[in-house]
Amino acid sequence: MMAHLPLLPILIPLFAAGLALLVEHRRFGMAPQRAIAALSLLAQLVVAVMLVRSVSGGDILVYLLGDWPARLGISLLVDRLAALMVLVSLLLAIACWVHACAGWDRRAPHFQAFFQIQLMGLNGAFLTGDLFNLFVFFEVLLIASYGLLLSGGRAGRMRAGFHFVSVNIAASTLFLMALGLLYGLLGSLNMAEMAARIAVAPAQDRALIQAAASLLLLVFCTKAALLPLSLWLPETYAHAPGSVAALFAVMTKVGLYAMLRILSLLFGSAAGALAGFAGPVLLVAGVATLALASLGVIAATRMRVLASYLVLASAATLFIAFALGRPAATSAGLYYLVHSTFAGAALFLIAHHVRRHRHGDTTVAGLSARGWIVAGLMFLVAAVSLAGLPPLSGFLGKLALLDATREHPEIWLALLLSSFIILLGLARAGTRVFWKQAPSASEVARRQSEVPGRRLEVAATVLLLGYGLAIAIAAAPLLAYTQAAAAQLAAPAQYLDHVRAQTPTLRTP
């Protein structure tokens, strides 16, 4: 059982999705589907914690699917980074699921099945050690995200959805082209094996390898929304329903994770002449994206658009951190990644909450005085965290990042200036939405009869903000973990040793 641990985060949601399809809620009610989803999430949480525990000592688990040698067949690879990403996406998914159970899952016929398949795609993308398998899991999570985004939607969301689907299909096509070229050049698609072959590639092949790898990075930059490729993001996220938009906060992180994996493993210190490939270009593009995202935050007139641009800003900050290619910056970036996933998702849920209870364009009617204060406080915590003010997790993440980039004054300037602009935008949004005269009691009663309050939605938001508080309080162990993960990424040679040491054994069926 322990030997098959890396496969469980993919198998559990797959089976849960199949079961959820069998007990369709229009015939059996919501309870069976929700019970299946709850059990699946719980089991995945146990597995994710076990994975983190088993790799936190520095082990790299390699799992050979079908017992083919890793250079030919499909393999899963779990290191500190992969285990952390699985755990973070799962914690986020639990909060989003609680939020959706307040009623959204009733409006979209197969919400629970799509949700589980989305988790399967996310876990698979984080755990795979094989580039083609990464493509397949990208497709799995994208197909599920189309379902989550579009089902139950109407005109506006259909239009935004068509953009999202087209951009992603075009990106997937490029991904396949890059895979074909890389396989033709290197003869393997296992990432650790490719790293060794890039290091000894003949000089005349280098330009082709660079071209193919650039295509690959282009795809990941599209998923993670780097500047010229980021125009699809705000529109799509602003049209997604609350809990789905919150779950999508981790989707840009998948692109960033894949980029970090490629840069550190394929073009890390062991890559010979191609070491440090694309770093400078990504750095400049990251700064430009940060500038655009900050301007977007201050120009946003709706809270969901604001939240979308904040997702863009956090992705840009992570591009800057990862493009430097130094363990200290990568480790700070990983902490910031965890923080921005939770805080960004929380803001989407708050925007959803405010929108449901908003009367007209001005005040948050439909909430009792206490509910109003709760909504305002939730926004305050999320905003302080996202703007990077002390004492919450955003401040710690940005502080670690600034500490790691001491000899780059231009990065300091970009980060601090963008934080200031984002702070202005958030403060303005907060005063506009929450600092209005409280609505009269009769109006509250009238609105409350129209829009029933949903305690679960508030609970999910509080849970996400609680994660943020937890990583602020437990910052030392988490930073120690991310430092160890970054150190592991900086030594790509040991990945190859682990992958090659895993030899297939003949088993009796």
Binding site: H163, A170, T173, Y183
Partner: protein, 133 residues
């Protein structure tokens, strides 16, 4: 053979990119389909173009590498074909629904058309005013 294959991939890609950049969702879907054909051919060609060799062990060929072609790209192409097929179906359904909801098969909904109409009307009004003057 290489020349024919390479120019076929190039032509398909060029046509695909051109169609992908057009403003109607039908053209965009056709473009994506052509691009996926080009990609499938490209992956297939990356296993090297060889003539008359089997990808899996057969009785008539001795079991050494030079008598076989690389089977992996062919397996990859199979996966890619299935995924591209499914994605085309999804985007067609989405385009039909968007056409029904927004009343236009413009990729930006009806906005672009309305803008065009408004421009045309303004132009006509200006022309009328000029004629009156």
């Amino acid at each position: 053979m290489e020349l024919a294959l390479a120019s076929a991939i190039g032509l398909l890609t060029a046509a695909g990119v051109y169609l992908l950049l057009r403003a109607r969702s039908f053209d965009v879907i056709l473009g994506m389909t052509l691009l996926s054909y080009a990609t499938n051919l490209l992956i297939f060609a990356c296993g090297r173009v060889v003539d008359g060799k089997p990808p899996v062990l057969r009785a008539f060929a001795p079991p050494t590498l030079e008598h076989y072609t690389d089977p992996l790209p062919q397996a990859l192409v199979l996966t890619a074909i299935v995924i591209a097929f499914a994605m085309t179906a999804v985007s067609i359904v989405l385009a039909i629904r968007s056409r029904a909801d927004n009343g236009s098969d413009h990729v930006d909904g009806s906005d672009g058309e309305r803008l065009q109409e408004a421009r045309n009307q303004a132009r006509q009004q200006r022309r009328k005013r000029r004629q009156r003057a």
